[in-house]
Symmetry: C2
Subunit: 382 residues, 2 copies
């Protein structure tokens, strides 16, 4: 009778409409039938990305999208700025290094957000030689969101393009790709878009396309020129992940039915409830001044084994949250509230957290976390 609950920052739970669509018989991709599906997906992604730029669909996980964002615009020895505030910022640097692109890394302490002024200063030091600035919308490893609008204001008047890793966060928190001057935005399917993993998405501005003209990094599978050529006839250069694209349209229908503003407000309420619950049982938010509405990182209290906490919730009670990564392994846990998550999922997660904390000897008032979350929901009017 044990049920499973997923409260991780990717994958996120699948709506029933998405599950159902995944079980349909497969269709061939080089047909007018699939072309019309792909056209609908392309248009839907523009809505979610808040862009008039084309958004390409890759058969890859988000990391493939990140690689695509490096190899299509840059050449070996090019200089770029990378903001590294956690595991996914690091990944930008690793990809740049793999392709011989010189990354000037702005290292931000885990749990903090970059100060856009630091990017401005580095751009000035670069004296026009900086080709791109790589940032992360929501750093999943810490739960901290970047002020993309402020970064866009700093980058827009330079020759550099602004590249945003929005794998975690797109469709959950606001990202006005065009209005905030984002040139390249990368995302993936298994987060705010409520799909299984296996699709990457990437939008490209005209400023970025100009840079692409001189790009000398080698590429084939991730060539966006090949993708652009195919896109013109609602096609893809290689076999697309057909089933996931069909499911994508189901997810976008759900998103459009609510509207982005309402979805962002919903995520905010979910996040507020988790933050309130954590505080109510005496836990410390990992990043009290720089959180996001995507995932909340919470410090494991003294005397509690963080890895055992996550394992007990998952293996004994079926509630999966995420532990800390790299330097924060065992020191934080990450409670996600992204995608197809409602108030009673949050109540379930907090209730399970309280139970396991109590079993592990942590002292607090049982039920205080759940009650705090309930109050947030009651007052939010959702």
């Amino acid at each position: 009778m044990k049920k499973n609950y997923l409260l991780t920052p990717g994958p996120t739970p699948l709506p029933p409409e998405v599950c159902e669509s995944l079980s349909r018989p497969i269709i061939h991709h080089r047909t007018p039938q699939f072309q019309s599906i792909l056209k609908e997906a392309h248009e839907g992604l523009k809505y979610v990305f808040q862009t008039s730029n084309d958004v390409y669909i890759l058969a890859s996980s988000g990391t493939g999208g990140l690689e695509s964002a490096v190899v299509n615009f840059l050449s070996p020895q090019d200089s770029v700025i990378v903001v590294d505030a956690g595991k996914f910022g690091e990944r930008w640097t690793e990809i740049c290094e793999a392709y011989g692109v010189k990354a000037d890394v702005i290292k931000v302490k885990w749990g903090h957000a970059v100060d856009p002024k630091d990017i401005e200063a580095r751009l000035k030091e670069g004296k026009g030689s900086v080709k791109a600035v790589f940032v992360t919308l929501c750093e999943t490893s810490t739960g901290v969101a970047t002020d993309i609008k402020a970064v866009g204001d700093v980058v827009k008047n330079t020759d550099a393009i602004l590249v945003v890793d929005a794998v975690s966060g797109l469709g959950a928190i606001d990202l006005k790709s065009d209005a905030w001057n984002c040139d390249v935005v990368v995302s993936g399917s298994q987060k705010g878009l409520m799909l299984p993993p296996g699709l990457g998405f990437i939008s490209v501005s005209s400023k970025a396309w100009k840079l692409a003209e001189n790009s000398k990094c080698p590429k084939y599978y991730f060539s966006l020129k090949a993708a652009r050529k195919a896109y013109a006839s609602n096609d893809t250069p290689w076999t697309p992940a057909i089933g996931l694209v069909i499911a994508l349209n189901e997810a976008i229908k759900l998103i459009k039915a609510q509207g982005l503003e309402k979805i962002f407000a919903w995520h905010h309420t979910m996040a507020e409830a988790v933050r309130a619950a954590a505080r109510a049982i005496g836990l410390e938010l990992f990043a009290p001044d720089a959180y996001s509405d995507v995932v909340t990182a919470v410090r494991v209290p003294p005397g509690v084994d963080g890895e055992k906490l996550v394992k007990a919730m998952r293996d004994t009670y079926g509630v999966t949250i995420a532990g800390g990564q790299s330097e924060m392994k065992g020191k934080i846990f990450r409670f996600a509230h992204m995608g197809y998550i409602g108030e009673f999922d949050i109540i379930t997660g907090i209730s399970c957290l309280e139970k396991v904390l109590a079993q592990m000897g942590y002292k607090f008032q049982m039920g205080a976390g759940v009650a705090a979350a309930q109050k947030v929901f009651l007052n939010s009017g959702i």
Copy 2:
């Protein structure tokens, strides 16, 4: 009331067990639950690949697997031999060129198979400088299979590795990866493995791993060293396409329940029926001396518009076969009999083909194709 039938060389129809598994709630990938699923998939792939080498699972289409097979073993300026007998042979050359690898191309006329002696001669000309030989198990664009065993005999005693594109054909026709001296074998999910597209697979021999040590082609997403490191703990370096991996295990269960030998015999019978039917209604096989049991290419008879034939079958009657590609566009059609295809699917396809040919004014004895197929099935004992 119109039903849809899929007789294309990828994607191929999904068994109900696979469809059902795709609709299950998603689970998190960094868990013991998914690790055990991945372990089962790794073991199952070894069975299908007929190898004791590790088989890595990529979140990509087959082309991503092909790129992986180039960038992990070679360096710019390396010399390789590519057999190009159609569109997918061409792709090997394109990928090599994108990464600065020098491809010595053996151009084989469409509809024919490479003579292994030609590979032997080129290897001798290369005097030990050839690092790899790239071939295609079944050239989907022509329906022709390569004699991999004979190619393996030619390559095995040289320093070159043998790299086989088995995207089309693996799990449908025999490929004894180890016994036939294949060092790297690439496949994809949407063909013989009866899954939606979105997974790539690649096996790597110890000879290939040795070559990988000196590889200087840049890579990140497709790094097999990263995949190998993660594989050791039944993990993947990036987020795997979780749902497809779960479905993969369902497909492998079906394959194991039959056994590979029986499945190859089954495909042979399906193919024999299609070839007999085509001949019975006076159609000419595109490659009468070098076909495969994967997909049958048939010449469009004079006076019939090949593109309209395929469109009418699909859009009027719901039966999807494939047209010709590139130089054979409109000149051939390709009737696939790969994966989850049974005798009555073949009868359906032939019956529809006859109907549309008759409507397009082609003269033949109506029903002769179906009857020829029926006879093959009756005599085959399946």
